[in-house]
């Protein structure tokens, strides 16, 4: 390590690493240098000039956000010249800034407001007309919509380039830029483009003025009326830290709550704009029974009495518990404990969309290293992982890795993308990924691959030889594909051959935590089989929407029909509710206390943003009320459950409930590969295509995302992706309606010719309640064959 640089700031000495910016060195001394454009996560531009400081021997003031320290430098941040310069910069910034703070969304949390109060002139001497960017005079407030969610008011913009840099450096798009010159310079999008990407909401959060706004938040509430609750995002397993901002029981937005170990202060749009799921108008807020195909509202106490009555007379082996993956560790633990003790022999399963090996320990899943280490890797191989969809924030680390020279290879049956970040894609036929992995292993012994191009094979050989730390990220789809057993074995052998660390990545929010804490005794599939046998009479569904999740819709519906009694603790009147007997309104994660384990197996705590009405039950409270009547160990808070969990589940060790320190459960060995023989994927004549599925970024992993109005708006319509060669052959052009036929039935979709899909394969992209993808599926690890025709 190079020697530290010693310098003096405002008369105080400080030692910093060479290359540190003056502004950062000052922060080390707790000296505040105001700035608008500086963000240590983005490339410095030195544009706003708010951070000017005086450096001895330099005739001009210096932008401290763009100038590295030098030994012996003497810096003043409080001299008269500096104070005057700040005042001048603020006066300049304000001359064309509208005085619409009373209506501006940013008012109250606006850096421009705050710094003007602190450093600015009290009066403006600008007596001219302000520049007004007015695209359409019919528009209120001069705002223009630049994307489905993002609005722009150019009058307010102070040209700090933060949004441009976020769009470019973080999200990896070229879609925001500065147009025109001088005082008429403005942020804009190129003609014909709509600004929408997986990270677009960050531009709104980090805009230092109210120039960028979210459609879902714009002009809805003043920021000082919002209650801010620290919590954890529940729409994937990355575990981003969020602040839930609510007022009077209604959530208005999610903001980031920076955790440099995970999200570095960036949220993906799914997590940010999924805030409105609890506010959805169709949410079930009162208990109901299903009668004659319709829901009939009942009183809370009546509901409780019915559940108690039903459960009291059940035998253990006749009951089952199905746990959603978005519930907390404590909820999973106390619900499973209740069933195990009260109903010995009952079936307990976790409802995952993916076929994770049930025999393996939950703690053998997740990242094998920290996110920082992934970012610092030389080489990452992603197997059947659409990281931008499954793990958006881990995807940001991968993007960072690429921009700092790391190499990424995706091994997938379709082409996945990461904005403008370029990486090598090894495309294999559907279900043949394992062969590509075997060929990569054989590459090292000089064999010629058939599934990998010559150039890629050469690069890959070189990269593997040069790389010091190699990671293999195994996407959730790897567990579901035909030949997944072979695939997982191939990954294992390859990892051993090239000394790579393997991470199996479940994408469902708290899959690891729920599996660990509930200790299920059967798999989701086994449970469905048992239901179909008719041995189970009563099923308690704790959250989620298992009818939508299970990869064979007809089978799960038929199985549920066999039940005498289904209790559904759920939030929406979805397909699962339709097959249930009794519906208990569910408290969603933002209304819940408890903990999650994220993909790193990091323990993090949720705080309820508000107290939901009595009719909306947290699982913890519901189970407690049942225990009061039916007997069982009582806990008075989630914290008490946690203490009990610690006693019985050693991984939780000495950790205490609600603490904010780092707590990661180490990865345990014990991942077991289900053995299997190669299966042949050959479409029959009447169904010549292989059909694959992706819910796309906005729906992601949780069935509840389709209950967000904002996400529905952003996601767009469901599409059938067809390889251009096939599209040409069948005379299908983009946007044509096509009929998709499989053995399960048929559906109509809009088509999109897209070469991310292999010839002879189709991808059903997106989600809709009307056309749920699992309608076409026929179980895990089985190929779906399909035919299409133009309508």
């Amino acid at each position: 390590m190079a020697d530290l640089v010693k310098l003096t700031i405002d008369g105080r000495e400080v030692e910093v690493e060479p290359g540190t910016l003056i502004l950062e060195a000052a922060r080390k001394l707790d000296i505040e240098i105001p700035t608008f454009c500086y963000d240590e996560r983005l490339r410095s531009v030195g544009a706003c000039r708010m951070c000017l400081v005086e450096v001895e021997k330099s005739p001009k003031l210096i932008a401290s956000c763009a100038t590295p320290v030098a030994p012996g430098m003497i810096v003043r941040t409080d001299s008269k010249r500096v104070v005057e310069a700040r005042k001048a910069v603020l006066e300049f910034l304000l001359i064309n800034h509208p005085l619409d703070c009373p209506t501006c969304d940013k008012g109250g949390e606006c850096p421009l407001q705050n710094l003007t109060y602190k450093y600015g002139p009290a009066m403006s001497r600008f007596g001219e007309d302000k520049i007004r960017f007015q695209e359409e005079t019919s528009l209120k407030f001069d705002d223009v919509r630049i994307g489905p969610e993002i609005w722009l008011n150019r009058n307010r913009c102070i040209i700090c380039f933060k949004c441009v840099r976020i769009a470019r450096e973080v999200a990896g798009g070229e879609d925001l830029g500065m147009f025109h010159r001088g005082a008429y310079a403005r942020i804009d999008i190129p003609a014909g483009i709509r600004y929408a990407n997986e990270f677009s909401g960050n531009t709104v959060e980090y805009c230092p003025v109210g120039a960028l706004m979210s459609d879902s938040f714009r002009y809805k509430i003043r920021t000082w009326l919002l209650d801010r609750t620290p919590s954890i995002c529940w729409l994937c397993s990355d575990g981003c830290n969020i602040t839930i901002e609510s007022n009077n029981g209604k959530i208005y937005r999610h903001q980031s709550r920076r955790n440099d170990k995970i999200d570095r202060g960036f949220l993906c749009d799914r997590g940010r704009y999924g805030f409105d799921i609890p506010n959805h108008p169709d949410r079930i807020r009162l208990p109901a029974v299903m009668k004659n195909g319709g829901m009939q509202v009942i009183a809370h106490d009546e509901m409780l009495a019915m559940v108690i009555h039903r459960l009291r007379e059940q035998k253990g082996e006749e009951t089952a518990l199905l746990l959603d993956t978005s519930i907390t560790n404590e909820e999973a633990y106390c619900a499973a404990e209740f069933f195990r003790e009260k109903f010995p022999g009952s079936s307990i399963a976790v409802a995952s969309k993916h076929n994770f090996p049930n025999s393996s320990s939950a703690l053998s899943l997740g990242l094998s290293v920290s996110m920082d280490e992934i970012q610092a890797a030389d080489l990452v191989l992603m197997v059947d992982c659409d990281i931008a969809v499954e793990h958006p924030i881990l995807g940001l680390r991968i993007r960072k890795m690429i921009s700092s020279g790391g190499r990424l290879y995706s091994i997938h049956h379709r082409s996945v993308s990461l904005g403008r970040f370029d990486f090598a894609k090894i495309r294999t036929p559907y279900g043949q990924e394992y062969q590509a992995l075997n060929q990569i292993r054989e590459l090292m012994s000089g064999k010629c691959p058939s599934l990998i191009g010559d150039a890629e094979a050469g690069d890959l050989t070189k990269d593997i030889k040069q790389a010091k730390n190699i990671h293999i990220l195994v996407g959730a789809e790897s567990f579901d594909l035909p030949n997944s057993g072979l695939l997982l074995q191939a990954i294992d052998s390859l990892a051993a051959a090239i000394k790579a660390k393997v991470s199996y990545l479940p994408d469902e929010t708290n899959y690891i935590g729920v599996s660990l804490c509930a200790q299920p005794n059967c798999s989701f599939e086994q449970l469905i089989a048992r239901l179909a046998d008719g041995k189970i009479k009563t099923l308690f569904i704790a959250g989620g929407n298992p009818v939508d999740i299970f990869p064979e819709r007809k089978r799960i519906i038929a199985a549920l029909r066999k039940l005498e009694y289904t209790i559904y603790w759920g939030a929406f009147g979805d397909a699962t509710a339709e097959s249930s007997t009794l519906i208990i309104p569910r408290a969603l994660p933002p209304e819940t206390t408890g903990s999650y384990l994220n993909i790193e197996r990091r323990l993090q705590f949720l705080t309820p943003a508000y107290k939901p009405p009595r009719e909306i039950n947290s699982l913890f409270r519901l189970i407690t009320e049942l225990k009061i009547e039916l007997g069982g160990r009582l806990y008075y808070s989630a914290a008490e459950v946690f203490d009990e969990m610690k006693r019985n589940l050693p991984p939780f060790g000495s950790f205490s409930f609600g603490a904010t320190d780092d707590f990661l459960i180490p990865l345990s060995k014990g991942f077991e590969m289900p053995a299997s023989a190669p299966c042949d994927i050959s479409p029959p004549k009447e169904f010549p295509f292989v059909l694959a599925f992706s819910t796309g970024f906005y729906y992601g992993v949780s069935g509840l995302t389709s209950c967000s109005n904002t996400l529905n708006k952003l996601a767009g319509v469901q599409r059938l992706l067809v390889n251009p060669v096939d599209a040409n052959r069948l005379g299908i052009t983009n946007g044509d309606r096509v009929k998709l036929k499989t053995a399960a039935g048929e559906g109509e979709f809009e088509s999109l010719s897209d070469d991310s899909v292999n010839p002879g394969e189709l991808v059903l992209w997106g989600y809709s309640m009307a056309n749920p993808p699992n309608f076409f599926m026929n179980g895990w690890n089985k190929a779906v064959y399909a035919a299409i025709e133009k309508i």
């Binding site: 000039r49 000017l52 910069v89 500065m178 010159r181 005082a183 310079a185």
Partner: protein, 426 residues
Amino acid sequence: MSFQPFLLRAIEDDDRFDVYVKHGGYSALRKALKEFSPESLTEEVINSGLRGRGGAGFPTGRKWSFIPKNSGKPVYLCVNADESEPGTFKDRELMLKHPHLVIEGTIISAYAIKCNHAFIYIRGEFAEEARRLQKAIAEASAHGFLGENILGSGFNLRITIYRGGGAYICGEETSLMTSLEGGPGYPRVKPPFPAVSGLYGCPTIINNVETLSNLPAIVNNGADWFKSIGTPRSPGSKIFCVSGHVVRPGNYELPMGISLRELLYEHAGGIANDRNLKAVIPGGSSVPILTADKIDVRMDFESLAEAGSMLGSAGVIVIDDATCIVRAAYIISRFYQHESCGQCTPCRQGTLWMDRILHRIEHGRGRSEDLDLLLDICDNIEGNTICPLGDAAVPSVRTSIKLFREEYEYHIKHKKCLVDPVKRLS
């Protein structure tokens, strides 16, 4: 002995390759490749005292010597042919009439800094100039002065002409590079300086067309010869672009240190229309104005700095006594407002603000507090911007107020122009 111009040489058809060669063209390149190593050539240019002709006057050889040794990265040379400073038109004439001189100078410079790919960033409006340079490059390549293994020396050079979009800001060296890389013409924060990290993050030298055109003569005649012309600290000749109210506006290549009086009255034919001299902007629109009483100032870097102005690009703008200085300052401020790139706050907003106020004063709607406000805005822009454009917008406004305050006050008070009181301002 009278001074013989060696840049704007009095040779007919000097843009033709055969004519250029006949008059000793490319002999300097031969000599440089044969007799000099890159290091000794740099040394020679340092000794000659040649200073950059683009405006800042930085010693050329010293600039070259800032290139880090053995950085492992390619070195680039950018020829700044984006001449856009109002009142300046010297590079244009050099490229139009003596394109081979420019190319020869470029090759010599590239040899000195071990550059194998030079770029000529030429202002978009200079279409014919670009065409002639392109032709000169083709001819030089055909005769082995460009390309692989130039004249058997083992030195390779490729020259690429890039036509800019006509933005003033792209004459600033860092935005020139950003523009050349394909980005918008935004200046970059220095450090890092281009010699360390410039074009594509590689060591880069940016030299002005006139600067490079001096090199063949320096190589042929030696540093001592060059130093014998001009003044000790500003050696050599300078092309003065005389414009405005003179009888014979045009480019005049004369030794540094010539008096302004001699330049205007002996060479440019004196003030036109029998008017009197009111003021001179001696170095392009970005430098402070001089009043008529400074007529005996010597035209070199030091003397002009002493007189309170700058040599700049030597665009000598002559203003006669029938000219309204308020209007002149307004027109200049409008230029900077239009050309500010908009990246940093003081320049983006300050140039607009000054322009708005001057517009008001010029149109009879000035206020008594405007002048002090303008001076304050000048102070607030100057020194606080990323690049020198903000600094360049200030001097004309500031000095016009300081030197001709009564004219401004007359405008504000009487809504009339002091120079032409009959005309009502509106």
